[in-house]
């Protein structure tokens, strides 16, 4: 397996939404049909970079998420490539039926950006910490669901979405997180990548949790447990092959997502393995619970989403499974 290209230094932090903002600006320069619509969160979702450069291709719809996606569906019908941004709690949280009918069933290439997903939203509390967007969007035929792992990947994903002919959803986080991928790290919609090779246990991670999974692998290396980290940036369509190959090798699979464990990445992987390769499994995520106010790091730890917590899940999975065999 070829070595993954990562940055040398992982200390720099940046937000996924910033990567999106840069990517959208670039996409706008490359293609005049790229347009952007926002529901009164332009700077917060980093869409202002595009809006300032291309004011004539930017539509401010006000606090109206149902209008946001349906106006975009109309623009897509006339050949535009609309990016629409809001917080994930509102889009797709509030406007899911409009997305279902006018974008998914209607098969219009609207690019829905749900920022501020996950508990790392922090002080705003549960109302704004979207945890249910992955299952909402994964259930829709025609919809592509993307969750990049850092700012650099979010930028690549945005450019890839502008060139993709399908309806897309991309989930982003508010907080600045470590930037570890480089411009040379591969990214393709629909492809998962082994970010770290290992033999004892696989962590299939998405979004901000891929960084935590890589940290988990470092922690467990000290305990002579070899962790393989599979980064799934496209939750739908799922790269089954990369997951099945890794599961066949390690026979132990953990999923990790900053979202409800029900129906998200963990659900998708459980469905896959359950049907094609039953494997001992554990899911890391928020466990049928809403978030709350606090500092991002504090909340990540409280909900058991940090590297130490994942390491414990991995050790327990390995121990339980070994005990079962006897």
């Amino acid at each position: 397996m070829p070595e993954m290209h990562f940055k040398h230094d992982w200390s720099e932090k940046d937000s996924l939404r910033k990567g999106f903002g840069m990517g959208l600006l670039e996409a706008g320069k490359r293609n005049k049909n790229v347009v952007a619509l926002c529901a009164d969160l332009t700077e917060s979702t980093q869409m202002h970079l595009f809006a300032e450069e291309f004011p004539e291709r930017f539509v401010q719809v006000g606090v109206a998420e149902q209008n946001l996606v349906t106006v975009a569906a109309g623009m897509a019908a006339m050949g535009k490539i609309p990016f629409v941004s809001s917080y994930a709690a509102f889009s797709p949280g509030r406007n899911w039926e409009q997305i279902r009918t006018t974008i998914a069933l209607n098969d219009r290439p609207v690019k829905i950006i749900g920022s501020h997903a996950g508990v790392s939203v922090g002080p705003d509390g549960a109302t704004h910490q979207m945890l249910e967007d992955i299952p909402l969007m994964r259930a829709l035929p025609n919809m592509v669901v993307i969750a990049p792992c850092d700012s650099v990947e979010a930028q690549k994903a945005t450019l890839a979405m502008a060139a993709d002919k399908r309806p897309n959803y991309m989930r982003l986080a508010r907080e600045a997180t470590p930037v570890f991928t480089s411009p040379h790290t591969p990214f393709e919609i629909g492809k998962g990548y082994v970010f770290r090779a290992g033999t004892d246990v696989t962590i299939v991670a998405t979004g901000t949790m891929t960084y935590q999974a890589l940290e988990t692998a470092k922690l467990l290396a000290h305990k002579y447990i070899s962790v393989e980290v599979v980064h799934i940036s496209t939750i739908k369509p799922l790269d089954e092959e990369v997951i099945l190959n890794s599961a066949a090798k390690t026979r132990h699979v953990i999923t990790a997502e900053e979202a409800q464990i029900a129906g998200g990445l963990g659900g998708a992987v459980a469905e896959l393995l359950g049907e094609k390769l039953p494997t001992s499994m554990a899911r890391v995520g928020v466990k049928d619970h809403f978030g709350e106010s606090g500092e991002p790091d504090e909340l990540i730890k409280y909900f058991g989403l940090d590297a130490e917590a994942i390491a414990k899940v991995a050790q327990k999975l390995l121990t339980d499974h070994t005990n079962h065999k006897h």
Binding site: V59, V61, Q66, T70, A73, A77, Q98
Partner: protein, 288 residues
């Protein structure tokens, strides 16, 4: 057909609307489910649009110079199917497949199944915003002489999404958008004014920054002239509040909200067809 020469007289258009009503009755009876009142009430508007006002080409539904017609209240699609068949989009025989398995004529319209359908609709309140998006996209590309028409029901103005679109269209005034409200005063649960009062409807649209017209939506001449008026108004988007009689043309269906969401049975269909047949040639006097 691309330039739609105004070759039909008002009388011919009225006869066409009546024929379309008869097809609607046959389709609904055959389907065994669906909505009767709305499609019958809208037959004059659809006839006026497809046979007079719209720029379109039934043999080339994707023609990039066409006007766009969005039917927001998708449950009224039988009238659109019937009118499209009359205009030559597909054979009339296909009308009897409405709502059947494998048919292109789905219970609610699906763009991907039938060329010329423009969008998928049924869940209410989203047509006006899609039309606004289309109109804005045309404006961005500096396309002139292409109009976006959107028909909404009155009941769907209960939806917040409708008013979000009303505000946005007034803000950007794309200059090529015409909304037509099917003001038939009924919705599934009863009269609109008892389910959720909409009046003063014209004043509401005006307060939201639109130019509003009240017309008799069953008078083809009035519809054609309102559309011309709408095209002449440039300072605001225009809404035509078309007062229609639900179930128009069939005595026992007219103005009865119970016919909003059900089809005629065999006997009822026979009775309705007989009524529509005997009205032929007298329609114009009926209006006066």
């Amino acid at each position: 057909m691309t330039d739609m020469p105004h070759q039909y007289s008002i009388k011919e258009l009225e006869q066409r609307a009546n024929d379309i009503r008869m097809d609607i009755i046959k389709m609904l009876e055959q389907a065994g489910s669906g909505h009767s009142a709305g499609p019958l009430g809208l037959a004059d508007i659809f006839t006026a649009l497809y046979f007079h006002s719209l720029k379109h080409d039934p043999k080339n539904p994707d023609w990039d110079g066409r006007d766009i017609l969005i039917l927001s209240n998708g449950h009224c699609v039988p009238v659109r199917y019937a009118t499209m068949a009359h205009a030559g989009y597909f054979p009339k025989a296909e009308l009897l497949t409405l709502r059947k398995f494998g048919s292109r004529l789905q219970g609610h319209p699906e763009r991907l199944r039938l060329p010329g359908m423009e969008t998928t609709s049924g869940p209410l309140g989203s047509g006006l915003s899609q039309a606004t998006g289309m109109a804005l996209a045309l404006k961005m590309d500096d396309v002139r002489n292409r109009w976006v028409y959107v028909i909404t029901s009155d009941g769907e103005l209960d939806e917040g999404n409708s008013w979000e679109a009303v505000m946005l269209a007034a803000k950007y005034n794309p200059g090529n958008l015409i909304a037509i409200v099917d003001r038939n005063n009924i919705q599934i649960d009863g009269p609109t004014e008892s389910v959720m009062p909409l009046e003063s409807l014209k004043a509401k649209w005006e307060a939201f920054g639109w130019f509003a017209l009240n017309i008799n939506g069953n008078d083809i001449e009035a519809i054609i002239s309102a559309v011309e008026m709408a095209k002449a108004v440039t300072e605001k988007p225009v809404v035509i509040i078309a007062h229609t009689i639900p179930g128009k043309g069939v005595d026992f269906m007219e103005k009865d909200f119970h016919w909003h969401g059900k089809p005629p049975g065999h006997e009822e269909a026979m009775k309705a067809l007989k009524e529509l047949r005997t009205l032929q040639g007298k329609i114009r006097s009926e209006h006066q």
